[in-house]
């Protein structure tokens, strides 16, 4: 279990992480979601002692990271896949880790195989690796010590869709055995695919947290009719609040009630569904809108 309590980190006048508290539970994959520069990486660095917080504490399994003896055996960490010596081979990077953690060398080849780096790829220098291969090597390094906790910063970055699916399986399996996984991303769909729990961060502050279901639920429905004006009127008569959304309406009601209202008014619907994924995307954009570096123009979603 990872527990962050009231952690704050300032750089001069700039507050990178502002009174952040959350828990990543064992047996679950926790997604740490936020736009670039929201404070995800700084928070993760503070968990493993690479950055010292100004206030607050971070513990893993009840201990400060520095108090965990041979921490690589408990906590698998991947903070930056490119932070490896370009002149070492992928295999050598793992051999160094295994030697330090006191692991048998056989573990190195097991991990290379696990992440899909074959024999000749393992013997190549990291300089010649693609970002996707570096991520796989980083994941292999994180898993090397057979840890019970994983801390991964943007692990899906650079992986192709098949790679992301593979990682989802790997992490779900890891969590299924009781492991704790915390992974960060600035891409909603990645976290949505992989995580059980979600923590949304913007401008150094936690803006929402909960299970993925909780965050997805209660965001209404999406409805589209042949005659938009008649549909709007029908929903108004039924007392359902609706706002234009893309080429249809976002309505604050269950799909069944919207269907009834439309049927009663004789309005033909061309589309009616729960606002599931789109709802979360809106939530993400809305919660982090102030922190976006790009100005969002109407209709230019994500």
């Amino acid at each position: 279990m990872i527990k962050i309590e009231n952690v704050t980190k300032k750089y001069g006048a700039y507050t990178a992480v502002d009174d952040v508290s959350f828990v990543a539970q064992p047996g679950r994959v926790t997604g740490f979601l936020g736009p670039n520069g929201a404070g995800k990486s700084t928070t993760m660095r503070m968990m493993v002692g690479l950055t010292l917080p100004d206030r607050g504490t971070a513990t893993i399994g009840g201990l400060r990271y520095a108090d965990i003896p041979n921490p690589g055996r408990h906590v698998g960490v991947l903070l930056d896949a490119s932070a490896q010596h370009a002149g070492r081979t992928g295999r050598e990077v793992l051999v160094l880790g295994a030697q330090l953690m006191g692991l048998p060398i056989t573990r190195v080849d097991e991990m290379l195989e696990l992440v899909g780096l074959n024999g000749s790829e393992g013997k190549r220098r990291v300089r010649n690796y693609s970002l996707g291969m570096r991520q796989r090597l980083g994941i292999a390094h994180a898993l090397l010590g057979d840890p019970s906790v994983l801390i991964l910063d943007e692990p899906a970055n650079g992986l192709d869709p098949a790679g992301i699916r593979w990682m989802r399986g790997l992490l779900a399996h890891f969590a299924g055995k009781g492991g704790t996984v915390l992974l960060s991303s600035h891409l909603l769909h990645e976290v949505e695919m992989i995580a059980d729990d979600m923590i949304l961060i913007g401008r150094g502050k936690i803006v929402a947290q909960g299970t993925k279901e909780e965050l997805l639920r209660g965001k209404g429905s999406f409805v589209k009719g042949l005659d938009p004006a008649a549909l709007t009127a029908a929903l108004q008569r039924a007392g359902i609040a609706a706002t234009p959304y893309e080429d249809g309406l976002r309505a604050e009601a269950e799909t069944v009630d919207i269907g009834r209202a439309a049927a009663a008014a004789g309005v033909v619907l061309t589309e009616l569904r729960g606002a599931d994924g789109a709802g979360l995307e809106d939530l993400f954009l809305q919660l982090t809108a102030d922190d976006q570096r790009d100005v969002l123009t109407e209709g230019a979603k994500a």
């Binding site: 408990h74 930056d80 070492r88």
Partner: protein, 268 residues
């Protein structure tokens, strides 16, 4: 690409696992010095140049009928060569973690940064010792060859001489190490090191000639000249005092400032 082989094999409880031993850390640091091209070639070239310089000296001694060469002469030659390369070794031990950003991994696997730095210093001393042993062995062989070619051989070498050789090599490595800890940058550390070993003594000499007062201060701040009695095993009581004080300024001070920074700095 299967997700089924990560099953934990008897996971350890967080507190009961023994911490990484210092000897393991040193072993890993030694490996890190030979598993990259830069480190491998630095060590290889150092060893090769020690051998070559000794052979060249032997040829010159034989060709020019030098009659007063002996074991100590060959060791002095090794000492010249290695005192150029050992500081670079000391610098690389530190700066590779910053230049290639591997520090993120190193300081995550061993969060006690003082232990990492200590293990690096020890690895540097082990490699310096390797260089010293190489120098002693090569010198021995050269002296025997010299005896065969030229004769008679001199073995007049005291324990103070060997001790001075060992100490000066260790100081050379640690001087680079200390500057690297201060600057955390290979180029800056190398430039500053050679400025202070090659340029500064000349400036000190000039100042001492211009100002009589400075001539009294100079022995206490000139680390290079303080080390020269080590080379010919002529250390007196005041020489040790000079070495200690100038060593505090040029070796201990940058190391302490550098370490203080490394202990608290954000590793990115």
């Amino acid at each position: 690409m299967t997700a089924t082989t990560t099953a934990p094999t008897g996971q350890l409880s967080f507190a009961e696992n023994p911490r990484v031993s210092l000897s393991t850390l040193v072993k890993v640091e030694l490996r890190k010095m030979v598993d990259t091209r830069a480190g491998f070639w630095l060590l290889g070239i150092t060893a090769a140049l020690v051998v070559i310089a000794n052979i060249v000296a032997l040829i010159i001694f034989a060709a020019q009928d030098v009659t007063d060469a002996q074991y100590g002469t060959f060791i002095t030659i090794t000492s010249y060569v290695s005192s150029i390369f050992l500081p670079i070794l000391g610098i690389m031990l530190i700066t590779q973690e910053w230049g290639q950003r591997t520090g993120m991994v190193t300081f995550t696997l061993e969060p006690h940064r003082d232990r990492v730095i200590l293990s690096k210093a020890l690895a540097g001393l082990v490699l310096s010792l390797g260089c010293i042993v190489l120098g002693l062995v090569v010198g021995l062989i050269m002296n025997l060859l010299y005896g065969a070619l030229q004769g008679p051989i001199g073995w007049d070498i005291g324990i103070e001489y060997i001790g001075g050789f060992v100490l000066s090599q260790a100081i050379a490595m640690l001087a680079g190490f200390a500057l690297a800890a201060l600057f955390l940058n290979t180029a800056a550390a190398i430039v500053i090191y050679f400025v202070y070993t090659l340029v500064l003594p000349g400036i000190f000499e000039l100042l001492a000639n211009l100002m009589s007062g400075f001539a009294h201060v100079r022995p206490w701040i000139d680390f290079q000249s303080a080390q020269s009695p080590l080379g010919d095993a002529s250390m007196s009581g005041s020489d040790w005092g000079h070495l200690l004080v100038s060593g505090l300024i040029w070796l201990v001070l940058p190391l302490v400032i550098g370490l203080t920074r490394i202990m608290r700095a954000e590793v990115k």
